[in-house]
Symmetry: C2
Subunit: 589 residues, 2 copies
């Protein structure tokens, strides 16, 4: 215990009568007329210390000077409290320590906010004084949970023979994806390093090297604007394997997550996790990362409404789009026409030009469009499994817009109607992703995951003739509607990789300049390989029941960096500026 007898939260009745040395911070101090009580906090909890003039007048005199957050070293004897003073809220609530000696190790100014869960402080202030914010037990517990999560992951992967291998942070820039952070090189004139967006190339090279099972809890970087759910510096659980099938990799990830859930949350999850193809997820939930903790699924009513008199619906179907609906159970009474207008505005963010609706009542469907469905209403209501009292919301548009708008509405309504069981952890695999996405603006295909993803073997011949229909051997792991991460089998043959770059619009020269070293490596006996990468920050956020990603990171980046402390950029010094200029001048050649 190194100089103390107990951590404060561990002083229990078993210690009664013991002389103890304790250390910690003053959480609270009460002066009850000549007898002073303090709650002494350390990372394990608090214990009550009492300064009594009959025990030590010196200690009491020192205690007079003590304020909140002072750092103390205390010697005393553990005694039982009077039963009337038992505190059932803390582990140490039946005992107290009678102080015989106290040393003030350090003083403390009055902190800008009280170190307590219940204090409501703006995030700006919390981040400015992060060292005080982190003193709050909930923050400590979240970071402790992060430690527990990585420990569970490491223990699992180590047991399966995975080797933790570090890959470089100062690395080559490999375009595609987000913007890189750039580090001008001093030694290599006219060149610069990039910080990695993922260890993708390195982990593939390790498979070429025959490592077979690699993992790393790897720091990655994206020079993109801050969002509540995105940090420019983030941590990825990065796994790569050789000779394993998609099934093998999914099984490995599932077993790993089961250990995490057990070790961190004490929960037994059911394996295997449910699965869904990308197409099914989009169709049933309007999302590639469905939150399956509640229903309210999207139902296609195109067939039923396509011959109706409601032009919005018939037009959408006729032009190749669709009409889909979600049913808000017992929503009739809760949503006024004005409320529904609000929902329509929300749907408009996702491109929906309108939000049609029907209320199911005892005597039939009601609402502005009810008249168009006088005849079909029974068929409609029954197809949607709607009941009296329900509200039906329709979007008629192109497939993508219908999915986005109804998918977002579903989540919004699920939350505001309390349909989500917050105690649930619903894992889901989304498989069979499209390999490519077409960017209409740029008129070219992009890799839906990344350009190293292996297409389905049976779709390979459509790579040039019908790229949009090619499926990828890729899989995402979803938890409660958040993408935890994803993986794929990788291309491991030079000719397939070359074909892929061609489809993505790279010239042979460009492909060779940027990825030639990887394709060269493929020619020296590269095994079939694949892997998965999961976001640690988000995983901890979900496990800890937090909603702010920054709460899972000890020192996160914020938009107002200049207010911040140590993770903020600095103003350049004259010497540093001169050096940067030299490097930049070289770059410009």
């Amino acid at each position: 215990m190194f100089g103390r007898t107990y951590f404060n939260g561990e002083v229990t009745e078993a210690a009664i009568g013991e002389k103890v040395t304790l250390k910690g911070w003053v959480q609270k101090r009460r002066d009850l007329g000549g007898v002073i009580f303090i709650d002494l906090r350390d990372r394990s909890g608090v214990v009550q210390v009492v300064f009594n003039p009959d025990i030590s007048a010196d200690a009491l005199a020192t205690a007079e000077k003590i304020r909140n957050e002072y750092v103390l070293d205390i010697q005393g004897t553990v005694i039982k409290r009077d039963e009337a003073n038992f505190n059932p809220n803390v582990t140490t609530g039946t005992v107290e320590v009678q102080a015989e000696n106290v040393t003030i190790l350090n003083e403390a100014k009055t902190p800008p906010f009280i170190i307590d869960e219940r204090t409501d402080v703006s995030e700006d202030i919390r981040l400015k004084y992060r060292y005080l914010d982190l003193r709050r037990p909930a923050m400590f517990e979240t970071l402790k949970m992060r430690n527990k999560t990585t420990k569970a992951i490491r223990d699992y992967l180590d047991g399966e023979g995975f080797l933790d291998i570090e890959t470089p942070i100062l690395t080559k820039s490999t375009p595609e994806g987000a913007r890189d952070y750039l580090v001008p090189s001093r030694v290599h004139e006219g060149e610069f390093y990039a910080l990695p967006q993922s260890p993708q190339i390195f982990k593939q090279l390790l498979m070429v090297s025959g490592f077979e099972r690699y993992y790393q809890i790897a720091r990655c970087f994206r020079d993109e604007d801050l969002r509540a759910d995105r940090q420019p510096e983030f941590t990825q659980i990065d796994i790569e394997t050789s000779f394993m099938s998609q099934e093998d990799i999914i099984k490995t990830a599932e077993n790993m997550m089961a250990k995490v859930m057990k070790d961190v949350k004490g929960l037994d999850v059911t394996l295997p996790f449910p699965r869904m193809t990308y197409n099914e997820a989009m169709s049933r939930y309007g999302s590639d990362k469905p939150d399956t903790r509640f229903g309210m699924e999207l139902k296609d009513v195109s067939e039923i409404v396509k011959d109706s008199d409601f032009k919005v619906f018939t037009g959408a179907v006729a032009s190749g789009g669709q009409v889909k609906a979600i049913v808000v159970k017992d929503g009739n009474a809760d949503y006024s026409r004005k409320d529904i207008d609000g929902l329509a505005e929300f749907a408009a963010i996702y491109g929906a030009k309108g939000l049609a609706w029907l209320k199911v009542e005892e005597d039939g469907v009601k609402g502005p469009i009810a008249k168009f469905f006088a005849e079909d209403q029974e068929q409609l209501v029954s197809a949607l499994e709607a009941e009296v009292g329900d509200l039906i919301l329709f979007v008629a548009d192109k497939k993508g817009i219908v999915a986005d708008a109804l998918g977002a509405l579903r989540i919004k309504l699920g939350k505001e109607r309390g349909l989500i069981d917050q105690s649930k952890f619903n894992f889901l695999w989304v498989t069979d992703w499209p390999l490519l996405e077409y960017d209409e603006e740029e008129g070219r295909y992009y890799a839906a995951h990344h350009p190293f993803t292996m297409p389905f073997r049976e779709d390979m011949d459509k790579l040039e003739s019908d790229p949009a229909s090619v499926r990828a051997q890729a899989y995402d792991l979803v938890l409660n509607g958040y993408e935890l991460g994803g993986g794929s089998l990788r291309i491991f043959e030079r000719d397939v990789q070359e074909k892929m770059f061609k489809v993505l619009g790279f010239s042979e020269e460009e492909a060779n300049a940027q990825f030639g070293f990887l394709m060269d490596a493929f020619e020296y006996g590269t095994p079939p390989h694949g892997g998965i990468a999961l976001g640690l920050d988000r995983m901890v956020m979900l496990l800890a029941g937090r909603t702010n990603l920054r709460d899972t990171i000890a020192f996160p980046k914020t938009a107002s960096a200049s207010d911040l402390l140590v993770d903020a950029p600095s103003t350049v010094s004259d010497k540093q500026l001169a050096e940067l200029n030299l490097r930049l001048a070289a770059l410009k050649k």
Copy 2:
């Protein structure tokens, strides 16, 4: 086992009769007239596979096409080898696999070097084809040992309640120390991030936050020129604690290293490790990181020679310097006058203006300076514990030069005379470091460790009056003459820290601008704290018995980066250049 029955190195006699599926690389192929043998390698080892026309003509036909480093999937039956063909060099040497089916998973060009321990290849070629170099079992084993080392460290620290907390890579520049890598910020116009040389400030802030026990296996960066024993990107085992004494921290590090030695090398080390003050180490070994695996200690003979007629010696002593010697056991016959001239040249690198010597022979000491010691020779020889046949080497100069020159000579001679037991792991603590070092050129003091190191309490009042004499509460851990790392108790009071910055020549404004946030934090209840940081790369190098630091890193940086693969900097694209220019223009404002 995911699609295979065994790893290849684990196919033993217990598997005889089993139908197995194996995967791996062709290590070697021999065609014995119609029967083909291959050694199939994976990361666990090799197993022999035999293609026999009586078993499968198809498999044999495929085997005809197989070359070294092809990747195969093999089905077959494990059989016992004829005793005459037993191979005692591999774990699988008494069995072989009779191939029934073989699939070529990927082909391989002839590699630029044979994948084998014994291949002697230049490091340039090894690094250019790092993915093939890493296929060599010794490289795999070194990186596996690195994984085992970090696992042992994590398991130990986790058991002691240390939390693994990540700190930022994009951070504020905190001058002092080496040159920073700089990352111009896109969002914060005119500012830039620095990559951390250590998580120093963050770990101290975590102590302010009450984490009490933190660790991280942290990537750190120094923009300095490459050396065989230094990488610009390196990994540090970073530990910080609160309320612990120097003794407590040393004990923690010792227990951790004992677990590493046990788990990684199977060795029981004796605790506690020996200790030596900085002054004793410099005096006895001429080094602040003595290799204690052999003797040949430096002996001070100033008192004996100060009144001799040899002006070089008497002059050195008279001007405040000293005369010290090392004894080369049985060195008389081995070192000619010319050899000794060579040693003098070597000593000159360290500033020694000459190297005096004496040979101890039956009839007294011999050599050019023997005449000056006709009378004192017995006293001299006895003080040095020299015997007939020994060679004595003297350096007379300022204390620092004597230590450097004789210290370096001692190591050189220890190596070339085979005095070092390579099987030994000699740990040593060097304590009581000076707090400050005086830079004669710049006429100012520098922090010997870093500006956050706590002085001895009893030396505190000399901080301004006699800075050079102030000792630091700092300790280095040395292994076999290499500095594994070091630590210190930290300053945790604002006034002491301010005084320290003043001694280091910071104005109040500079100190506040650069470290104000830390000193502000000190005012909110900062506990006494301290820690230690050990270099992982070097630790693994010593454990693995390697001499090249780069062999402990999967993808190291090299001087000839342009030859290299993925860890090389890139040439900037037009778009990236434009963006960098914008950032730099902002910096110049």
